[in-house]
Symmetry: none
Subunit: 198 residues, 4 copies
């Protein structure tokens, strides 16, 4: 629940002057999250966010340089972000299917916003990196880890390439998401089966 992108608050060193008002950050992130979910990323102008949040323009720019960064932070704070749910061990195939099904369930609410974040990432390299580090990489790591464990447990044939399979899994996920296709439990199962084999 703590921010990563906010400017100048990297460390907790004591700074002179009036401290940033946490409520302002809170309101901005909450409003941004809500508006982006409701109307979509680029339909929402910055002015709308600050107006709804009842906050001054400068207060936003004091914290974030871009709408993208604000929204990224907002999503990170959001529960959607919980990433590290422990996966049940014995059945790795089922674990993967469940993990994917969970993510897909969240996309019902956040899919549009996630798509717009991916889109925004294509126009801004530093944002892309931040987005990758905080959202993409952790999830990919989880799957890669799971596949390695499955291989160690003999559930996945030793010849398979976990990194590649992880890219397959996330790729299939992104590909369908960005092409406006459905992502449901069936697809989660199908992907898991495709990875572990018939």
């Amino acid at each position: 629940m703590q921010s990563h992108d906010e400017k100048g608050t990297g460390m907790t060193e004591k700074t002179p002057g009036r401290p940033r008002d946490a409520a302002v950050s809170r309101k901005l992130k909450d409003t941004a999250l809500r508006l982006v979910r409701d109307k979509g990323y680029d339909t929402v102008p910055i002015s709308a966010i600050i107006a709804e949040a009842g906050v001054s323009r400068q207060s936003l720019y004091n914290r974030w340089s871009t709408k993208a960064e604000l929204v990224l932070d907002a999503f990170y704070d959001d529960s959607f972000t919980r990433v590290a749910q422990p996966l049940p061990r014995p059945d790795h195939r089922g674990a993967l299917a469940t993990f994917l099904a969970d993510i897909f369930a969240h996309l019902a609410e956040n899919g549009a916003a996630l798509r717009s974040l991916i889109a925004a990432a294509q126009a801004d390299e530093t944002f892309r990196v931040a987005f990758h580090d905080r959202f993409v990489a952790p999830r990919e790591e989880i799957v890669t880890q799971l596949l390695h464990e499955a291989q160690a447990a003999g559930e996945l044939p030793p010849g398979r390439d976990p990194e590649l399979l992880s890219a397959f899994v996330h790729g299939a996920f992104w590909y369908r998401l960005l092409n406006g296709q459905t992502l449901d439990d069936t697809w989660a199962r199908r992907i898991a089966d495709g990875v572990f084999g018939p």
Copy 2:
């Protein structure tokens, strides 16, 4: 080399008045293509395209409603668009690797633009559909077809799911592209091997 998106030219019905100047369309598409490749999709304003093309604003809007549609058309015209290169039959695994390697080679030049098109597609549903129908689906179909043939030829185990594998292939491609990772011959081979098994 013929346009699909251009407005009002679907049929060759006789219209009264002065006919559209094909050179204008040509200049617009060429300029759009060049500028987008050079500076990126959303760095290039429409004003810049018409200025460079030496064409009036209205002439553009007579043909396309959006920058996205123009650029889509421009890319469609471009050689990058050739999609249906015949695949050599006997070795399907190798055919897939070659097919991917070809695409990846084109991305060296067009990757950035393609990414921005995918990004633009996230904000505009009708554009997304057009983009999908003209760029995404054909290529996916090629791979699906190839996998089916490979299965028929016994090169791919019968238990495998060609549609899913096709999603894996394109997903891996998109995933790496959109995350700014390299796509080279090695990856093409690795993907093909991942699909056909070790």
Copy 3:
């Protein structure tokens, strides 16, 4: 009733493209004039002018670079601007008094605006020059001319210095105006008497 400051319309050469809409200029100048008269020069933001005029921001900047230039043009167009009322010849002292009394009468309505224009002129040299050339100098010239004629007619002693006396006249006017003091017929008479001697 024709503008001097409007950009790019110095000559009546035929320009290609859609011509400027005279109604837009009209509305801008009228609104600017009214608002400045009512609320004072720097109390009126540009945004208020364009909002009231129902005109786009760019349309204003197409014509004038500054609020100052717009307002100056607006005042120039205004009847307040009529400057060259012919002065009755025989009685030069009375003519001067009448001329001043006329101006003072106009100040009842425009005094505040004139003060704010003078103030604005102090911050912007080019505006100051424009203001001087179009408003100040013509009036000073009238008085100087009148004094010369009076001198020729023997009404003003030959030893007097018309340029200086003209500066005295306008100076007294400005001095009282800018110091918030009254300017009425009595003062007009008093100034005229001071110039021509008892």
Copy 4:
């Protein structure tokens, strides 16, 4: 060398708490004076003054409500402000010329700032009054007094109107100043001659 406008220090009543730091006032006035002289009144934002002075924003607002008041105070402190130099008696015409020449000499350095103070006075009535009381009225009084004495001494014809002549003198001064015209010894002499007659 003592301030008039500073808030809350009118009397020397004992106030509890830490007393104001005179050095802060000093630094503010000095910096304001210097910056305004160098770059002009409205080119200098308050932020620049406090930054240069190394003083906090609040410390300024503790003392003055406006940039205008601060600058007014700064100028009042400045040597330019010395107003009451005794005038030599016998030759009143020469005394006036000298008085004006002195003022004009100071304007070489302070003219721009004085103009901007006059400008600021047009937008703020209470400031206008303060400015008038401290800068304008005293000087006008000196001249009026001098003219009365000259009249008593028979140097100025009894029919002349000292108040009007004083307005002439200062008016001519302001008029030329605000219109960006030169003010030098020649003009001082010319004005004096105009007042006393040939």
